[in-house]
Amino acid sequence: MENQKQHQAAYMRRSLLDQGYLDEQFIHLEELQDDANPNFVEEVVKLFYTDSARFIRNIELALENGPCDFARLDNLMYQFKGSSSSIGATRVKRQCSQFQEYCNAKNIEGCKNTFQGVKQEYATLKTKLEAYFQVSLSLIRYIGNYSKD
């Protein structure tokens, strides 16, 4: 049964990397996980989603309430891009860069359209990561219990 979970977790992880949702930065985070920090990756990802919710909300408000302050939008997006790249969220980061290009070009429609893409990639990644952690962490807990016997 747990063998199956192991395969499932490995497969999910592999997919996330192969399909470009995550890059090697995520692998580096995994390398920082150890006995002292057993849930490090999940904690970092949780912080990313908590922090990012704020940026996303602020960008949304800034886009809705014209006139558009492109400098402010760029600043907000820069923060979000920094976080995304630090956890290896490649697709999200790419959308952020695209958004910034539209900001620089002062193209509000481009910004709005790309922002939809940002939110979509962000949400997709969140779902996939939550599913992945559910499997891999239950596995860790199982191994933890098993090795106590």
Binding site: L32, L47, S83
Partner: protein, 166 residues
């Protein structure tokens, strides 16, 4: 490899040994251990790094990373905090700074530190790609400039470097 290393070494060779002496006399009482200040592990100087970021996620990651490499991480939110800390006598073997922060003037902060004769290794992180965009920071006294996210093996190399220099 993603690293694009831009280095203009700070002209510090003539000051470096002087600064080291100054550093050590403030850290231990050398009169009581004349031979080898590193002989007793309890007074062995711990390497310190200062992170100047405005991002909680990056701070969390680098904090863990630095600890993993045996370096004590410290945080500052802006340039003013950094300068004030140094004015009060703080010293860090390594200063990691996000060069893109909108509110913080990283270039100004680096310049102020160098004007204060701070000889720490100062490393900048940026999304900027063009050399001419990075040049003002290098001219202000930045040692190295790296793209975000900062590669972990670069951090390892930086820690090795500050261990050698300490």
């Amino acid at each position: 490899m993603r690293t694009c290393l831009s280095t203009i070494k700070v002209k510090h060779s003539s000051f470096h040994s002087e600064q080291k002496k100054g550093k050590m006399s403030s850290s231990y009482d050398t009169s009581s251990s004349p031979n080898n200040t590193n002989a007793n592990p309890s007074v062995e100087k711990k390497l310190k790094a200062l992170m100047v970021y405005d991002n909680r996620v990056i701070t969390m990651i680098h904090k863990t990373l630095l600890k993993r490499f045996g370096v004590e991480p410290h945080e500052a939110k802006n340039g003013q905090e950094v300068v004030l800390a140094h004015r009060s006598g703080a010293y860090f073997d390594l200063i990691l700074m996000d060069l893109d922060m909108p509110v913080v003037n990283a270039r100004q902060t680096i310049k102020e530190l160098r004007d204060m004769n701070v000889r720490s290794l100062i490393v900048g992180l940026t999304f900027l790609e063009e050399e001419e965009e990075k040049k003002p920071f290098m001219d202000a006294g930045l040692n190295y400039c790296y793209p975000k996210p900062l590669p972990f093996d670069v951090v390892r190399d930086l820690v090795e470097k500050i261990k050698e220099d300490a």
